[in-house]
Structures are given as structure tokens and as C-alpha cells.
Symmetry: D3
């Protein structure tokens, strides 16, 4: 069960209202790398997890991410607080209002007109949050890697947001949130490497014929070798012929069909053939000038 205390995990002190900056901050509220994505990613994993250590850790971190969602949400709310009153009380002239929501440095027309200077679960471009952002598949050797990557991404977006504001209180709170992503990544790394083995992920081994091959698919000036495609662990294949039909077969796709299906497909083929022997007049030709 969740319980809530009105004190935030980190104090939010904003020096002045700024709806344009609020809009940027939405990236970590309702954006793909934001705190709702983090909280829901770990919460849903926690619910389905059977390993007691991971389950406990996932609930710990999910709960903290919810508390971070609350922090970033309050940053947005504080930055929007002035605009909210001005809008609700229609305090400005129409020209002033129009300028405020469309002017340079202030892309906030959506957050104001549609969302009332609130805290909607959208990213900074207005795209609603979607669970398509969550890539959990229910296998720990994959999901923990996904979590590690997610923490790395969130850390970077915070880094970029920090670079966009001089507001000391906002910077400080963002710095806290950024740092916690680092700590969480460390926990997930420990949990991953405590599974032994964890690579390859899952249960089925790879086919040894193809597990160490590197296909040099992109050729021409600019090719490089490095530990990712050279060394004793790699079989490097550049010959185009050897990249195709690597099973040694025809490289074609086939299916064994019942006779009736074959007949039907022939009928369909006949009916819908683009006749290579024809050179018909076309609609485009009808539509040309001086046709």
C-alpha cells in the first residue's frame, strides 16, 4: 500500500514564474524519459516479480520515482503559478495574453489554453504520455538491462535541463533528481550481475554458427574496425555473397501449400496481374499539360 506525506523528498524553491521553462520541465514529468515512465516501469515489474530481493528493490525505487514525479511536478506547478492566476481571472488584455503564450522564449500555449497552466502528463511538445514508452517484457536479465539504460537516459535529460536554467532552486532540485538516477543505475547493475549467468539473457543458447559473426553490411569509405568487430571472438564477413543465405540454402521464401490454395493463388495472380507486356495510358498522362 502507498502512503503519502505532504513533505516533498526535496524542497522546491523557484525564484520566479516562467511558463516557458515549465514547459521544458514537462519532459521529465510526462516525457518518455521522465519520472512517470520510471515509476511505472519499476512498479509494474515489482508487482510481477517473484524474486524477493528484486521485488523489494523494485518497490523501493518505484516509490522513490513517484516521489520524484511529485518533485518535478511541483517545479512545473511553481513555474506556472503566476500564469495560472492570470489565465483563470483573465487578468490580461487579449493582446498581452496572446503574446504571453506565443512569444519568443515561451512556448506555452498548449499548457495554458488546454491545461490551464497545470501539470499535464505530456512531454515538452505536448505529446501525451504513453505506456509504449515502457519496454518491460517480464524477464529479469532483459528488464534489468532496460532499467539500467532508462536510468542512463534520464540522467542525461536532467543534465540538459540543468544547462537551460539559471534558477538556483530549480538547478538544485534537478541536480538531486539527476544524481538519484546514477544511484538507481548502480542498484540495477548490482541486481543484474547477481544473476549468474545473465548472458545471453534468457534460457535458450544461441546457435554457435552465427553467434560470433560480424556482417560488414555497410561498406565504402569510412569503415572501421574495433573490439566490436575484430579480434579472435569475431568472424568478420565482408563478402556480399557470404552475407546472403547464410544457411547455405536458396535465400528464398517458400511455403508448402494445399493444391486448392495454389489454384486460388493462380486465379488471383491472373486477375490482378500488372501486365508487363502492356504500356497503358495512365491517369498521370491524362493529367499532364499538353497531353
Amino acid at each position: 500500500m502507498f502512503a503519502h506525506n505532504k513533505r516533498l523528498q526535496y524542497t522546491v524553491r523557484v525564484s520566479e514564474p516562467n511558463p516557458g521553462l515549465a514547459n521544458l520541465m514537462l519532459e521529465q514529468f510526462g516525457g518518455p524519459q521522465g519520472e512517470l515512465a520510471a515509476a511505472m516501469r519499476y512498479f509494474t515489474q515489482a508487482v510481477s516479480e517473484d524474486d524477493p530481493g528484486r521485488k523489494d528493490m523494485l518497490f523501493d525505487i518505484a516509490t522513490e520515482e513517484l516521489s520524484h514525479l511529485e518533485i518535478i511536478g511541483h517545479i512545473v506547478a511553481m513555474l506556472n503559478k503566476g500564469a495560472k492566476g492570470e489565465l483563470a481571472e483573465a487578468a490580461d488584455s487579449a493582446a498581452e495574453m496572446y503574446r504571453k503564450i506565443n512569444g519568443p522564449g515561451n512556448d506555452s500555449h498548449l499548457t495554458q489554453i488546454l491545461y490551464g497552466a497545470g501539470t499535464p502528463l505530456i512531454n515538452s511538445a505536448g505529446v501525451p504520455w504513453t505506456a509504449a514508452y515502457i519496454d518491460t517484457i517480464g524477464e529479469p536479465s532483459a528488464d534489468l538491462r532496460s532499467n539500467i539504460a532508462a536510468e542512463a537516459r534520464a540522467k542525461i535529460v536532467y543534465e540538459r535541463l540543468i544547462a537551460c536554467t539559471d534558477d538556483a532552486g530549480v538547478k538544485e532540485a534537478l541536480g538531486f533528481l539527476m544524481t538519484r538516477e546514477i544511484a538507481h543505475q548502480k542498484s540495477f547493475e548490482k541486481a543484474l550481475y547477481s544473476i549468474n549467468p545473465n548472458f545471453p539473457p534468457g534460457k535458450l543458447p544461441g546457435d554457435p554458427r552465427f553467434a560470433n559473426t560480424y556482417f560488414n553490411m555497410s561498406q565504402g569509405q569510412g569503415e572501421m574496425r574495433g573490439s566490436w568487430n575484430q579480434g579472435e571472438n569475431w568472424d568478420y564477413v565482408s563478402d556480399r555473397e557470404q552475407q546472403m543465405a547464410v544457411d547455405g540454402g536458396s535465400g528464398e521464401a517458400e511455403v508448402k501449400l494445399p493444391a486448392r490454395d495454389i489454384d486460388l493463388l493462380k486465379t488471383m495472380a491472373q486477375r490482378t496481374m500488372s501486365d508487363p507486356a502492356a504500356d497503358p495510358p495512365t491517369g498521370a498522362e491524362l493529367g499532364m499539360k499538353n497531353k
Copy 2:
């Protein structure tokens, strides 16, 4: 520039048509962990990459994933080939047709009615592919981790698909595709660890006050300790008071507002107050029986 050869990278031999199985296979064609997601993930990273080694690798693997998209697409096409002719030629009675697309073991009504037994970019539930599945953010120490995780996930989904079919040719091609995810993961791991340092990701260091703290946010029976939250590297905080306002402040959110905004907010507050001193009759009460 891309070039295409009609031979597949791996021969596809399907033993009999099965639109229900085709539907499952769509998961790796147009699903979140599928080959289009992989190809586009690496292709878009390649286009923007400035490091020559990674750029080359990303184009190599993106091109191979496109070739895998072609393989899994042909598996779907072969499994649907019989249904396609039957549908186009309306060869079955209505009752038989209805049964074929709705019957047990055959959730294919969408792929047949809407997509003509083709190869649409949807997952197995009919959800259209979206670029929201791609989590690239343009920083290699994050993106390579995302790639590693993506390969791990794709490997697992192939493992599950393999468990659902006895068709030897399908199993074999899926096994190839699964194995290649392992190989790609290895390449991305090498590329990541060839960045030195790569942790924490990005440029800004974490705040040392919070980088090694583990907040025990979920308490009660079932708590566990492990390397992810114990040991000399962790400061483990269970006390609820110490989890709040960790900056030592009030834990409240505040913003300095101009006087006019303060006045407007007061006006708004007065106008929209939910009066705690009132106990008004409500719509729900109007709607109750024997109210």
C-alpha cells in the same frame, strides 16, 4: 545508400500456412521489440553519430536488422499465403470464412479483414508500430546501453516465439534471428566499454551527497538486502523522516511571485474555494433512491 538483393539473408522454409501463427510472428515485425524498431533505432543513431567507429558499426547493424525485418516479414507472408488467396477470391462460404478468422487458435480477423493477409507493421494485438518505441537520446553512453537492453529484449521474444511452433523451417529461421541479437549485444557492449569513462553517463558528475544513498521506501514484511543496497558503497536510509526533505529544507514547494500574481491567485482562490464550512446537498444525493 541502400541496395537490395532478392536473396534473403536466411532461407525461409515454412511447412504449411497458418494465419494464427503469422499473427504471433508480427510481434517481431511491427511490435515494440521487433526488427523495424531495431533497424530504425540503429539507423537513426548512425545518421547522427560523429564517432567514426560507432557510425560504421551502427550502419552495419541497422542494415542487417533491415534484412532481418525482411526475413520475419517473409515468414509472416508465407504463413498467410494460403489465406490471402482464399480471401481475395472469396473462395469460402461466409460461415467457413467467419470461422477461419475467429476460430480458436486463429486470431487473424484483423490481419485478414483490414490488411488482406499481408504484412502490416503492427504487433500481434493489432497496435500500429510507433516511434515512441525508440528511446534514442543522442548520447552514446546512454544509447549504447539502450541498444544492449533492446537486443536482450528481442532475444527473449524470439525465444518465446520458438516455444510456440513445431514448424522446423520457422524454428530454424527464428533461431538465426535470435542468435544475431546475441551477437549484436556483444558488439554494443564492446563499443560502450570502449568509451572511457562511460559511467556515470554524460558529463555532469552526480552530487556526492545523494549518489550512494539507498532509500528504503517500501517497508514491511519481505524486505531484503543485497549488493544493490548494502555494503560499504551504500548509505541505507529507512527512517521515514530522513527520507523526506533530504536537502534539510521544509520539503515544501514555493515560488516568488510578483504582487499582482499574488493578488490574482487570491481572487481565484476565493472564487473557486471548496468551502470546508459548508455541507451542501449534492448531485449524488439527488440521484439516490429514497433520498
Copy 3:
């Protein structure tokens, strides 16, 4: 700040695994009327709310909805628990596995193949949760009405789920969750009617010329009158002429354009005119048989 305790708000006792039933339950986990929608609806309102009474209430109820999300999530997890192990260990033959995820009474291929028998934030058809489900606009006389409606909808979906299962423990937990929607609706009703006045919502009065008019736009057999369109408060307009251009104007749309724009539009009109005097041969005619 959120805190978590591992005890659920309501004990979940499931009598036997059933992935098909788990799939239905997802409707209240990641569906539009489900608990995530409820929790996020109230949480985001709470963050931006300035009225202390509503803010407190919204955090109370948001936190409870999160705890409900946890309950319904555990129902899903328990119903899927058997399938999860069978899938992860590939314990069944391919034929059996295929039958289990596609068979009648068991539409679970998505939740198993893609999500590993976990608890994804999708509805029962596999559509990912989206914040487009949340209709908060940041004005209490509208948002509280939205909340009242949302609780009513959630109550009904629980009612329907209860009608689909004989599992006593599942029914009991669903009954608790359904009942809480009733209680929350009552709270939101009180909070709405404690705003005085709250109708019309917002600040601007309606135009008295049009506020009491009922336009009888759908005519023909089956028209009815009731308190929604008859009585002293309604001006009932059936005459089609009186329904059009009710401002007394031309009923046309016009804009005053600069001369240059008028010229450009004329040029465009000339260039792109579909000439009514022509009867050109068309592509369709080219494509007809025996054309």
C-alpha cells in the same frame, strides 16, 4: 513524498491461475477507466491545486488509487503466475503452448509472448495506456465534474468484471475496489457543491440569447420531449430556418484580406480550378473493362 508498505490495502486470494481472466482484469490496470488513469488524474490535479481542502483530498484519493492499482495488479499477477513459469521454462510442447495462448477462453497471446505473463499497462485489447485518457483542464468546476464521471465509469467496469468470474477471492477484491469508486464519487460531489456557485463552470457568463435554447436538430419519427428540452426554461426551436445563422447574419464565413492575398488566392483558384465545364476522361474510366 510517497512511502510504500508491502501489505496491500486489500488481501488478494485467487483460487486458480487463469491468464484469460487476467487479460480481462487489465482493463482496470492499464485501461482508460482503470486505476492508473484514476491515480494520475487526481495526482496531477493535486500537484497544481491551490485550494487547500481540495489539494489534501486529491492527494488522499490519488494515493488510494495507487494502492488500488497495486491490488488489481496483484490480481493480474496471481492469475498469470502459473503461465509465467510455464513460459519462462518452456515447459510445454509447442502445440500445447500455442493452444494455451490462442485457445477459446484465453486471449493471452500478447500478454504472454510480449509481456512474459506480467502486468503491462495495457487494456484488455493490448492498447497501451495513454495520458490522452486524462481530461483534466485545471479548473475545479470542470475537473471535479470530470472526476465524478470518471468514478461512475470505473464503478461500472468493475461491475462488469464481477459478472465474469466465479473466483470468490477475485470477486471480493473487485467488490472492494468497486465500492471505493462510490465513496470517491461522494467526496468529489461534496467538493464540487462546496464551490458556490459552480454553474456555469468558470468565470464567463453565457450569452442569454442562446443559453436556454434547445435546437431540435434531429427530426422525424421518434422525437420526444422531456425536462431536457421542454418546460419554461427552454426555448425549443424546430424550424430549420431558425436553426441557421441564429445571429441574424448571412450564415457565411468571411475574412477581410489584404489585396495581395486576394490576388494570390485568385491565382491559386485559377491554377487549381476543377473546371465545371469540362468532362474529362478519368483514370477510373481508363481502368474499366471494355473501356
Copy 4:
């Protein structure tokens, strides 16, 4: 059947072109609270409704909302009319064109480049309209409440748009549209309260043990009492212990599994355990500087 007359329900007189303002107006054309959402909400309810009074009313109002969609669409078209010709005829220099679609006060690059200064079904941020905005569930005691809330929201968004423009003709037409939302809300209220009883919505009664409880889930400074959680109708529960496992059970989730599933889960648990006794080196540690 629908019929159309070329006269609008309300005359649209726009004083000058303004693609930036057109963009804002899209909020009520293709946005979540806009006229298409309203029209489709009531139209789809009308089609499935069996109660003759509601069916007639829903068709009346759906048809009017379609006519409102036409009005707001023409406002957008008039505001965009100048830009449309300039764009189609490429009348401006590239620098001027670039400035016009990106300049301050004019976020119209999407509507111009992609939509040709037309009337696309998007909101003001470019998000395409989705039926996920419609929350109809097919039960009148819920749907009518949803309709009441929807009208309240639409009223407010019109209020905000009115505050952003000095164009007298636009203001007047928006005022008409806003007022009609008030009238529609009144109709839906009458239809709701003409169902007796209508609370709780649906058929199943709530569980009396939980229907009058208010769980004080959010605690700490700022808690308030009001009619929504105090008075003789409420049982107010603040004790955290009494908030958990309110059924009197363990607060745990359990399922009775067949022996084979238990064995499989044990195997899986063993294979995928994050070993709490280990303290493995991790990828993050490999990636640290001076590791």
C-alpha cells in the same frame, strides 16, 4: 440521415488573417475538448441508446455539435486563408516564409508545411485527434455524467480562447459556442436526474463496509476536513495500520497453483535469482574512471 445546408449555424466574421491564432483555435476543432470529440461522443451514444428520450436528445445535440465543428473549422479556415494562398503560390521569399511560420506569435509551421494552411483534426500542438478522448462506456448513469463533465470542460476552453483574441467576430462566434455548452450541460443534467435512482451508477450496490469510509492517505502539514471527508456520513481512517488489509486478512496476494506450476516457478526462481549473497563487479564499475 444527415443533411447539410451551406449556411452556418452562426455567421463567422474574421477581421484579418492570423495563422497563429488559427493554430490556437484548433484546440476546439481537433483537440480533446473540441467539437469533434463532442459530436462523436453523443453520436455514438445515440446510435446505441435504447431509451427513446435520450436517443432523440443525443441525436439533437450530436448534430448541433457537428454544426459547431463546422463553425470553428470556418474560423480556422478564415484565419488561415491568406497564408494558404501565399504558401500555394510560393509568393514570399524563403526568408520571409521561414519567419512567417516560425516567428514569435506564430507557431504555425506544422499547419502550413504539413497541412497547407488547412483545417486538420489536430490540437494546437499538432497531436492528431484520437477516439481515446471519448470515454463512453454504454451505461447512461455514467455516460450522462461524462457528458456533463465534457460540456463543462469545453465551456472553459472556449473561455480561455476568448481571452486571447480581440477580433470581434471571432470573439462573438466563440461566445455563441461557449454558451451552447452551458445549454447542453443543462439538458444532460435533466436527463441524468430523470433516471431514478441514478446513484450509485449501474446496478450493483456497494459493499456497506467500505462505502462511507474516507482513508486519510496523505498526511502531514496541510490536512483539511470538509464535507468530503467529515460529518456523520464519513468514517475517517487515519491510522496507517487500519488502512492496510482492510478486509482483516494478511494483505498479501496469493494464488493456489498446481504442483507442476509450483515446481516450474521454483526452477525459474533458481535460474534467475539475484543472489543476495553475491557482490559482483558490474558494468557500471567497469565504466568508471580510474576503476
Copy 5:
């Protein structure tokens, strides 16, 4: 302005309820090729159209498509009518109810549980309708071609639905709807070819160096020639070298950067280089068995 008459454009006579068939019919209600897409496609074009002939035609056809939406909606409603009462009154045992919504031949759990056996704007897989289905760009020589194609697609989906039902009344109404798509296509063809010229679409001519070239990008067994790539109008290019850098340049991408940017990019390159000279241990290697 729209007006509505309660008589349908075509009488709907359904011989028996069938929620599974209702679900299929949703494809033309809320699916991508369905009647809402058609109605909104033409309606939005009509609103922005300046050519009087096309504007009138577009309003005519948009209005008819709305009337078709009403017809297909009533087919769905009639097929669902029995289920609606059974569900609302909870008339069946839970086992029977579960079987009815999950059984073979009846994929209706979503339409029943979430939508109350109503008429939601989803396709047959439950995906909500989205304006992303509409491809209007505001240029008649493109939009009319889009309309022609849309009519062709809708015609085919009706053809497939007709093949799935023996219900005489449903077949007859579907036949009407299908036929009207043919008629509409003919109108759009006439309107397109009445623009002179209409090819190439738009205003800018193509570059004559590239307008008649056919690049043979896909090579290997199975290549074919036809009027689409052979004849005097085509310059057929198979040589891979001649397919690249067709402008005669380097085939590389370059940008002239200020010196400061060049320096910054060098710094970034250095910091984030994947060192080709290294062969670092990786996380994957840490995770291997017997590492």
C-alpha cells in the same frame, strides 16, 4: 449546418444478434478505412476548400459518409443489442458470461467489458480511431488522389466483410455502402481530371535530370521489366556506382560550421570516443557462465 432525420439512408435489417460479427463491422465504423475517416477526410477538406465546385462536392460526400457512419453504426448496435441487455442486467452466470465474450467465434470481450456492447470508435482489434488516418495536405491535386485511393480501400474492406456473413440484411446494407464508394471514387476522379494540368501535382516542376530515371535498386533473381521501368520514357539505371551520388558529387554530407562549433565537436568526440584500440572487458562478459 447539419440537420438530422431519424430515418437512415438505408434500412438495416439484422436477422440475429452476433457480437462477434459486430466486432468485425467496427472496422468500417472506427477503423482506418471506415466511414468516420471518410466523413472527416472530406468534411475537413470542404471547410478549407476555395474552389466552389469541389467545396460543394466535398460537403455532399462528407454528409453522405456521416450518414453511412450512422448505417454501419446501427448494424453494430443491432448485432450487439442482445448482448447489451444480458450484460447490463447481469443475466448470465459468470461462467456463461466469460464463455460468451471469450469463446471461439466471438472476440468481443473489449466491446462488452469496456464499451458495454455499444458502438465505440475503434477498429476490430480495439485500436481507437485517430486522425493520423487522414492524409489531407491541403492541395487538390494531391488530396483528390488521396480521396480516390481512400474510396478504393474502403470498397475492398466492405467486399471482405460481405464475404464473412450470411445475414441477408447485413449483406444488403454492406452492398449499398460498398457501391457508394465506387460512385464517390468516380466523382473524385472527375474532379481531379477537371484540374488541368494536375500532373505533376502542385506547382514546381521536377528536375528533368531525375524525373525519368528508374533506379534498379533491388537486384538478383526475379527482376522484371514492364511499362513502369522500361520504354522510351525511362532511363533504367542498374549500375550501383551510377546509383550513388547521382549529382556527381562526393556522396557525403557536410556542413560549414563556425570555428567554435568545430572545437566543441572535437572536444565531444574526444570525450565520447569508442576507442578502436581498446579491447575492454564488458558487462556481457561479466555475465557469462564460467567467465
Copy 6:
């Protein structure tokens, strides 16, 4: 199989960085009319195509479109290249950074903060690419028309982008891409008209009673006649009575229901009736001032 060469199909020479222009260019990278949509449209058709001529052509053009995706992607990358370094190295002051991403002429905050000045698969408003943009249905007489229309649309969007930039290298590359759409349209036209007959699309003939009727659904001032609704091929119906129930029936919808369903529907109707004889007080009335 796909192969890649590092030389582009067309050389990209950008004269100076411009993230705002980069953002516009995304329209043809990840937008609905862009190159990914084109490539995937033809690729998926190619995979499922059985006609050898079309299959070859579709693979040819799909492969070229992928190469165009690469070109437009590199235009975006070059325009963003300066910003990428500045962002990654946090080279600007916060005020400068904020201004750069929000200033007039530069709507790039999303592409920079979230995507790191990369090449995301979004349109110019930040909406992620979705396969809902692809309208393929698996029938060549429809799909080829869809392809023709898609090429026309893409041609126009390029035309508009060309009008927005003075950068000679960008203009030149866009001109190449635009021209290729013309060439592709010509190929698709030839392939369509080489199917004989291809109209009406598909197999079922239309019902001759309704195939030549034009319903004049939109009446009033502004009606026009042209070849799309007049001439010997059209039966023009303006009489509203003759537009309804064109089958000669009642124009009503009906279904034959089992007796039990009829009873249940009566029970439901009774329970949920909006009583036309009542005039109940409503929530809105409770909420009015001075009620």
C-alpha cells in the same frame, strides 16, 4: 537482403547550421508524408506481393526510399551538428541556451532536450511516427492508388520545404527528392493501369441501382454542377425524401431478438429510463448562484 554503401544517393551540402530549419525537415523524415512512411509502405507491400513485376518494382522503390530517408536524415544531422556539440559540452550560458532553443525562428527545444540534436523519427511538431500513417490493405488495385496519392502528397511537402530555405545545398537535395516522387508516381501509375480491369477495385461489382447516383446532400447557396455530378452517367438526387431509405424500406434499424433478450432489454429500459414525465432538480441547479 539489404546492403549499404556509405556514399549517399545524393550529396548533401549544408551552408550553415540551423536547428530550426532542421526541425522543419523532420516532416519528411518522421512525418506522415515522409520517407520512412514511403519506404515502409512499399517494403511491406513488396514482402506480401505475389505478382513478380510489382514485387520487383516495390523492392526497387522501397530501397530507394530508404536511401532518401538517409539523405533527408543527413540534412537534419548537418543542420543540427553545431547545436549537438554545444549541447553535449554545455558550452553556452543557461540564458543563451534557453534562448537558442526557444527563440523566434527556432522551435527546437524538443529535438535538443529530448533527442540531443539528433534525428528522431518524429514530425516537425514532435509527434512520433506511427504505422497508422500506412494505408496498405493488400489488394493491388487499391494499394497502387494509395501509392500514387502518397507520392503526390510527398511531392507537395517537398515543394513547401523548398519554399522555406535559401540554403542552396539544401534546396538542391530537396529538389532531387521531390523529383523522385514524380518519377515514382509515374511507375505506380503504369503498374496500376497494367492491371486490366482495375476499376472498380477488387472483385465484387457494385450494385447498379446505386453506382451512378449522386446524392446532393449539401444544399443552399453555393451548389454547383460539374462532371462529378452531372451528365448522362449521373442520377442526381436532391429530394430529401428520396435520399432517405433508398432501399424503399422503413429507414429503421431492427434485429430479430430471442424472447429472453427482449425481456432483458425491457428490464434494462425500465431501470435506466430518463423519465420524460419528470422535471427533477439537477446538480447544475444546485450549483447556480442564488439558486
